[in-house]
Subunit: 404 residues, 4 copies
Amino acid sequence: MKEIKKVVLAYSGGLDTSVIAKWLEDTYECEVVTFTADLGQGEEVEPARAKAEALGIKEIYIEDLREEFVRDFVFPMFRANTVYEGEYLLGTSIARPLISKRLIEIANETGADAISHGATGKGNDQVRFELGAYALKPGVQVIAPWREWDLNSREKLLAYCDEHDIQVEKKKGKSPYSMDANLLHISYEGGVLEDPWAEAEEEMWRWSVSPENAPDEALYLELTYKNGDIVAIDGQEMTPATVLTYLNKVGGENGVGRLDIVENRYVGMKSRGCYETPGGTIMLKAHRAIESITLDREVAHLKDELMPKYAKLIYNGYWWSPEREMLQKMIDESQECVNGVVRLKLYKGNVSVVGRQSDDSLFDENIATFEDDEGAYDQADAEGFIKLNALRLRIAANKGRNLG
Amino acid sequence: MKEIKKVVLAYSGGLDTSVIAKWLEDTYECEVVTFTADLGQGEEVEPARAKAEALGIKEIYIEDLREEFVRDFVFPMFRANTVYEGEYLLGTSIARPLISKRLIEIANETGADAISHGATGKGNDQVRFELGAYALKPGVQVIAPWREWDLNSREKLLAYCDEHDIQVEKKKGKSPYSMDANLLHISYEGGVLEDPWAEAEEEMWRWSVSPENAPDEALYLELTYKNGDIVAIDGQEMTPATVLTYLNKVGGENGVGRLDIVENRYVGMKSRGCYETPGGTIMLKAHRAIESITLDREVAHLKDELMPKYAKLIYNGYWWSPEREMLQKMIDESQECVNGVVRLKLYKGNVSVVGRQSDDSLFDENIATFEDDEGAYDQADAEGFIKLNALRLRIAANKGRNLG
Amino acid sequence: MKEIKKVVLAYSGGLDTSVIAKWLEDTYECEVVTFTADLGQGEEVEPARAKAEALGIKEIYIEDLREEFVRDFVFPMFRANTVYEGEYLLGTSIARPLISKRLIEIANETGADAISHGATGKGNDQVRFELGAYALKPGVQVIAPWREWDLNSREKLLAYCDEHDIQVEKKKGKSPYSMDANLLHISYEGGVLEDPWAEAEEEMWRWSVSPENAPDEALYLELTYKNGDIVAIDGQEMTPATVLTYLNKVGGENGVGRLDIVENRYVGMKSRGCYETPGGTIMLKAHRAIESITLDREVAHLKDELMPKYAKLIYNGYWWSPEREMLQKMIDESQECVNGVVRLKLYKGNVSVVGRQSDDSLFDENIATFEDDEGAYDQADAEGFIKLNALRLRIAANKGRNLG
Amino acid sequence: MKEIKKVVLAYSGGLDTSVIAKWLEDTYECEVVTFTADLGQGEEVEPARAKAEALGIKEIYIEDLREEFVRDFVFPMFRANTVYEGEYLLGTSIARPLISKRLIEIANETGADAISHGATGKGNDQVRFELGAYALKPGVQVIAPWREWDLNSREKLLAYCDEHDIQVEKKKGKSPYSMDANLLHISYEGGVLEDPWAEAEEEMWRWSVSPENAPDEALYLELTYKNGDIVAIDGQEMTPATVLTYLNKVGGENGVGRLDIVENRYVGMKSRGCYETPGGTIMLKAHRAIESITLDREVAHLKDELMPKYAKLIYNGYWWSPEREMLQKMIDESQECVNGVVRLKLYKGNVSVVGRQSDDSLFDENIATFEDDEGAYDQADAEGFIKLNALRLRIAANKGRNLG
């Protein structure tokens, strides 16, 4: 068994991580530092302090990281129009690298030689936490209790609590789903969702009304972009976290952002998940719209071709890697001119772009027009363009190559 | 000037191509063969016969190509989850190669040495028509009147008709938009759309009701896939064209499939277009869902990484090219196991996947479960997996490389 | 400990795998089947029979797999011009999937429930053997003694032999290098090579003379290709293994094919290796040459863009995977017209292409000529081609975007 | 005909561009400014002044651009290990953007509204010159005489000289090849090379001895890299142009850098070219070697995957484009740690890497060693790594999917 002196634990204050705190002390005879972050999950983090104190923790970190989360992680990711497997907006994936970073920084501040987390051995989150931790502090020890202990059921955890005098709220009607939330999304896995044919129940969803229950009146929004990020809504300047909080609110109220998919985990299995990402759904649509008038065609296509790889890096836990940073440099470089305003309509689950404008627009009405363009574009040029593009095809056909 | 003996014209029966037919005869002193196809544009094609006869055309081809269009062009494209620039379902682009193919086949049958079309010198369609024609018959002559003549306004065309006794319907209330339709979509360009900030008017849309006007009751659909193509809806077997016709109907009735974008044309300019693609929007969503349980992860990711290139080939007019065929071979190969049923819900513009099942499913409930998996997956394996994936990052950090 | 009844061991007859055979019996109390293959490593395989018998092995497989190796593994890989990290011709990597396949087939024939190999826990080969085995027989057990036992030095292995009465040749002057050989290459790692600044000693190399010691006279060769594979040399038809044997001979005699690199292993570390690949070096150069006149430009470019991914799959051990097979399908499809003859010159380490010809050539002298082409190509077309390709750049510049 | 007031001509002082200078004045009745650059082509540029004066030119620019050429164009390109179609080092392609840039800058300085060049309508160079010019000055007029005039043979050009009193050296024994040279390479096209089966004659080559005629003694070189560029040779600091000049000298003396290929031109045809690139051949090999110990694996692989696209951009003339600049940003970012020394051996055409070292090396001898690593690497980790990487393959096999 590893020799550990002090371990920083990603601590939620819930049953699992409370048991872990105690179990770490008992098993490794080490000091435990708890770290609890507000990433916009929608629950108070301050109560975690009393719980940690009750467990006898001496060093307790409780932090509001919402602005950093959106500014340094969510926004950079949306600059790439990032979607995993065509659908998933990476709400869980993008929060992990920030937690890894703070765990390691706190380890450095407190002289801890290990970190620990409550992710299971089947999921992606263990990978994301640990790859980040190793990348930022290569000699750190990682303790993943779910891979080590035999407390593999809720009953055993509760028994452990009884045995060790750990106070936990015995919530009635505990959710049948495994959930994760932050300012970008809330996710649901497990329970009836383990059958991919079963439709999710309406009661499961927490952040959005169903399209059926959304208002009968559409909501129009104007989002102002600067260097690819939203800086104002309806003319009102906002910080990154405020932008996302606001978009979650209006998105959720209008039934926007529900998703039900089967995804491929990095650890090798398929998994069914449901997600609510109201603000993110709006941001993806709007960002594509502002790019559509401000980005050069080939830059846009290069971004599109590289996006799946970039999304995969984030999904798999490689935010803290030189290859992600290299791609990010290129993506950020492309956003210099991504400025302007997008006008959107939200209505019962739909997000529609209805207008876009920019001082940096590359849309040229004089050239694009169906009306007389007064010589801005010489239609005769098209013949040579087509002829030379066709040349290799013609040569091949002349040599007897057949298509179709 | 080229010497032309006989030219096959893609003929709609409308004002423009009627003028072209006459203009070709006059200008090139050649015979004109007309070719009119039903691709599902929603207008009768048979009336084109009388119009062509009135113009003195001797060889008149009128054909229903709807099944071939969907079976050999639309379906193969959807196997790749093809989307251009993140949004456009390529409704216009995918119809052009079929028209090129028939133009050339008819040229071969009738001994024509040229083909002609009514596409302008600013758009993508001229490129698509002509690349296809050159690839299939490298010595063919192409006449693109819009790039040659000076009849560059509706007034001049009408004057030409008067002068040359061409009968055309003088439609009242002619649409202010440039439109194109086939079984996959209807498109709108020009008019007020030339201002990308202007919202499209509700009256413009023809194939779908607005989400606001869609029924208050959701519609559930079950699509059956075989080798990546839909072969039955709600248990009812259907031909390809019938599938798409049906999905257009129910999609349009439920407000599905409207799109408003600015896209990058191959000829170098940005252009604003609005599209209605009810059936295609449903198919894209459903195809991703059936693939999500039947495709291997890395196969899916490879498809996602190559898709933008494949989409660009189709958009730019390279359907008839060896590189498109090479990609198609790979895509088709991947679809062997893409079999099963997807359950969808349509509601006021939303298409939601609510279930998917397949005898070829790779979703393994025993492994994915949050419950006890009885040893199907050894959580301890994750440690080694993470450690070795982290190794290069740890070595770099140990050598002093910094991230972030 | 796993319960094993019978294990198939990849057996070379050398010290390591002889110890393994015994150790498997002792440790797992299981039957051992040995499998020894001639892949062109240049050593007799038949003597392995007596050695296996001396160890008490009942089921002994000894096979000449050279033709299958070159036909089904080496040749398909060369169709893609496959090179890992710009230099490495994958000589070791490409042999592993064939061994995995035979191990599993023999396991199926003999009713074995496990396989075993002598690869260490630090290298790529363990990954390649095992990924292949799991992909072909998902329930198979794998025993990798080097990851389990404590016999981690030559001394301990020899002691084990003494203790267990295993007869091994105590070679004098054992090579200080870890070597691997098959018909495609011989590799050297370890020893002084562990210092990447140290030059390899001339005595290390076994398959080739140094360029300094090669003949003063150049050798000319004509290779005939059919569907991307060499089918004849200097007009003489040959089987795949004969082709490679011959090219190794003449390549090695002319100092061709030495390589000294630092490569990135899949398990996360950098490693220095030296390789001799005389025939492969010739084949890569020649295959590019025959493709240069027979492949369409865009097909060639698509192959080039996908090659690094394909190479990585093979290097990492994913030959037996659906994504490799999907890429292979595309690559093979592209080779239909890769027919013709390449003329090469070998001289003191250099392989130079001096001529190429094909009935399927797309090289069109009439168009390419600097002389009068009699109208085959209209130079005026270039203006439109350039103008439209420049359009997006001009619009951007007009809008004030700056380059450089 | 375009109205031109003043045109800047890329002027070599040779027959073709002397005729062009006169022809431009006569045809467009415009002023002509000549621009002659020393890019290392190996001919004096100063004599061009007298020739231009003899033609009556008033504004004459003669410049030594060698340092700028290597520093800002050649070196950045080599940071990407750039090779077009697996072989071509882009010697001609990379010089064009610098000429375009200076033509436009001179046009701006002299108030010229047009530029002109002597490239033909069949080649890539017209595209490269003009795309660059349009990108840098979107309203510029371009005159490409070879696409306009009928002086399409040497005889007609000489007759034009006689007629217009243009003094040209009537070189005896004019080369039968079309050649282009700069500090990176010299190229040969045309003549007997138009038959791709014909071997190039030994007399054609100008910059290098044949391997046969190279010294019998090998030459060792040590190249010092900083941020991916060579800054010193054998410990001697050098400027970029001096580095390349030196490497050309020693490379050429040792028979390094000849290439004979058929390449695919952007304008659609295949073309046979021979190239001598002594210094570039050395630089490519050495740069890969220094990267092999200093670059992260995934960064290196990402560079390899993007390289073909980057090479194609340069080959096709898109140096001055936002997508090339975006890729360059990423490439340059990756070079921060590409520092150290590479030791090379040149011998009769061979360039062999024999050592590499760096303070930024990621090669870790403790982990890579075949000897006891004292726990730096835990071999047991490999099992989990393999097991999880195999999981998707095992699930598929269990579900009955077959490979092979």
